[in-house]
């Protein structure tokens, strides 16, 4: 930013009169006198749902889309209202947002940062979307977050777990409800120490890209703090479909725990391979061999099938939670679509509601107003208990779940069971924590 002395509130005030006042460039439209990008002028407001619809994460994207559609219904007062009834903030009336009917457009991220930006741009430029929500990878989240910052719309991230999204790549216009790799480590480590003891030797297989690295770093740090030793960390190529040559040396390496820092199809394959090699039936250093998958999702669990039995990992949310917010959401999602929602679906649903609520409380769709309303916002009733949207980095702080592959699932959906709900205090970190350092939120950008 060329003009760092301007405060956010100052921008908001001047921005309301004329966005150009702070030397911000004219973006997207120069003809209308809009105070911010895509200011809704008619009786409706358009949200943009940007999820993977093709490629390996298409099913996850579809789940996110279903949840977002449900959220729109609830905002417009259709259906059973879902979490509007349990949300602690009562600003939303079920009459749209600020009296405007909520409409949505969809786009396909293809889980590629280029394609994701293209579809987000088309929703902003062509359809007049005022907020972008969704996604299922950190690369995409960071790329789209950067775009939204430049364009002057709000980005509500979907599934993104890398520390960088609210660390070195954080942006004032971007918000993350999902948990992150650091939180996974902080929540998992004590449970691991309980289950497997404090003298363990871990072997990491890590997907060779940004998310994999941050997760490996987080898990190594938190397990070593509890006395574990890290034998080796091996990076696996992104395009790998078969991990046998990486799994084969594990048993003879002196390690007795295998940590799989993989996601999606990579994780399904690496775990399947590890089970093929019979790692879980073996003993090493006189202890039963164990496998850990730090980041789980329901679809990965379904893809990995029986192989996940007894394997520990962490999640942002699970449909088996018994708080009022979760129950309300599972009920309306389940009744509409005939299956329980996944944790990325829940995040996308909550994000839409949080955005709408912030607009109501701010009394405007102006991104700077929304940012003000969301920063430091404390709420409950959307699942995961009391939650804080921290102002320093726009990261949500809430309870984190440690889950385990169910030994005896009774249906297709309870493949994971909740082992522990790690309280939020345990996963909270300082905004300037070294794993998150180097970024700058900057100023909120209303565009126009």
């Amino acid at each position: 930013m060329s003009n760092k002395s301007v405060t956010r509130r100052g921008v908001l005030k001047t921005g309301a009169v004329a966005g150009a006042g702070v030397a911000l460039p004219t973006i997207f439209t120069a003809s209308s006198a809009a105070a911010y990008t895509n200011e809704p002028t008619g009786g409706s407001v358009t949200l943009g749902f940007n999820v993977p619809q093709t490629g390996p994460y298409a099913d996850e994207g579809n789940d996110e889309l279903l949840a977002q559609q449900l959220a729109v219904e609830h905002l417009n007062g259709e259906g059973d209202g879902g979490c509007l009834n349990t949300f602690t903030s009562k600003a939303l009336q079920g009459n749209g947002i600020l009296g405007k009917k909520v409409e949505f457009v969809t786009g396909d991220t293809q889980t590629k940062s280029d394609a994701a930006r293209a579809s987000a741009k088309s929703m902003i430029e062509k359809d007049g979307a005022i907020m972008i929500n969704g996604g299922s990878s950190s690369g995409v989240a960071v790329a789209v977050q950067g775009l939204c910052q430049e364009a002057g719309v709000i980005f509500m991230a979907g599934l993104t777990h890398a520390n960088d999204t609210t660390g070195k790549d954080k942006k004032a216009n971007g918000f993350r409800h999902f948990f992150n790799a650091y939180m996974s480590g902080a929540a998992l480590a004590p449970v691991l120490a309980n289950a497997y003891g404090k003298e363990r030797r871990a072997y990491h297989l890590t997907a060779d890209y940004n998310w994999g690295w941050t997760q490996e770093e987080s898990i190594v740090a938190s397990t070593e703090a509890l006395g574990w030793e890290t034998v080796n960390t091996v990076k696996t190529p992104l395009a790998s479909t078969d991990f046998s040559s990486y799994i084969a040396p594990v048993l003879n390496s002196g390690a007795d725990v295998l940590v799989l820092n993989h996601y999606g199809g990579n994780m399904v394959n690496s775990l399947t391979n590890a089970i093929q090699f019979g790692l879980l039936d073996k003993q090493a250093n006189g202890k039963d061999f164990a496998i850990v998958v730090p980041l789980y999702s329901e679809l990965m669990a379904a893809g990995a099938g029986e192989n996940i039995k007894g394997v520990l990992g962490s999640m942002n949310w699970n449909w088996q939670l018994q708080d009022e917010g979760s129950k309300a959401f599972v009920k309306s999602f389940g009744e509409k679509y005939g299956k329980p929602p996944s944790n990325s679906a829940q995040t996308c649903y909550a994000q839409v509601l949080l955005y709408a609520d912030a607009c109501e409380r701010a009394g405007t769709f102006n991104p700077c107003g929304v940012v003000e309303a969301l920063e430091g916002f404390e709420f409950d009733g959307l699942g995961n208990g009391p939650t804080l949207y921290r102002a320093d980095d726009h990261q949500c702080f809430k309870d984190v779940l440690v889950v385990k592959g169910n030994e005896s699932p009774t249906n297709a959906y309870d493949t994971l069971e909740i082992v522990e709900v790690t309280p939020v205090e345990q996963v909270t970190y300082a905004p300037d924590h070294p794993m998150f350092s180097g970024g700058d939120l900057g100023q909120c950008n209303p565009g126009a």
Binding site: D114, A118, G139, A143
Partner: protein
Amino acid sequence: MLGLNKKDTSLLIIVAILTLLAPFILNPFPAGSAMAQFNAGYPDLMQRFVIFGIFAIGFNILFGLTGYLSFGHAAFLGVGSYSAVWMFKLLSYNVIPAIALSVVVAGLFSLLIGYVSLRRSGIYFSILTLAFAQMSFALAYSVLSNPKFNLTNGETGLQVYADDPQILQGANSPDLPHLFGLPMRSTYTLEVGAWSFDFNAGYYLCAVIMMAVFYLAIRIFRSPFGMMLRAVKSNQQRMNYTGLNSKPYTLAAFVISGMYAGLAGGLMAAMDPLAGAERMQWTASGEVVLMTILGGTGTLIGPVLGAGFIKYFENIFSKINDNVLHGWFSFLPDGMEDAMVFIVHPFIGKGWHLTLGILFMLVVIFLPGGLVEGGQRLLNWVRGRRSGADDKTAGKTEPAE
């Protein structure tokens, strides 16, 4: 005019008119109407049409003229993008040095890869270029983005951060790519009744550049150099026997098309200052091959049409969802409406790949010369109807050839 014959001049003029008036042509439907879904006249997509057009024109100089099928051209596009973003990071957001460097770097990179790959021909050449591009992609995605030596920023894509040096960035110059102060994003929206048309600075920069390189391509096609390249395609052996060494010619064609790709990459970064590694993946290289074949290999305008065709489907069809469908068919009775939505559903939104695959097959089965042939047939059909009997006799004599 400009050293072109009459036919080429009129082609160039048509292209110029089409690109300059694209904001009107691509937005034929009123903004609020149901058909507005098919409007493509928004800045991002218009930029993409032109940028991928440049990419495909360049590719066609190599493939269309010499017949050498490169399966790794996306690497040059990616390298171009990375160089442009590095210029933004180090110098300033002005797009001129960025685009210039991207062309130069892509040229050097293609010289290196071309020199090695052109030692083989046919499919062996294709696999060599594929191998180089896939190596570039894999390295850009992981190894070259490690914290100690971060050249590409890996999965996330290279982007400009607030703490980058930007030594030439003036205090008042815009904080995003601009041409001497004119931001690439600035758009003037013209409202005419229910219609709205976007005139975007970045698009017009790309459009002017495309017309320049399209002109250059025509000149290459018509030059003695172009003839030489065609000779390579039709019979390289005979050419060698006459004592001509074809390698310098093919290498020159390879480097020129690599520079076109680099230019496209640089422009992509200039429109949107982020360079992702996926730009270099084999699917991206395959895409430009498809664009060229689909449009019409070896024709001047074909690759541009092919590029437009694929990008249109990617960006327009992927955004049609069931909600939109219900909107379209809402005039039908309830049962019919649902039935129509059910029938169309697999082909739109998440099914856009399916539609594209079917169209590839249809075009290549029925129009062996690509979209250009389709256009010619249409033109001939129209002409044939207009002039009636005279052409019929002329048409009959043709097969005797």
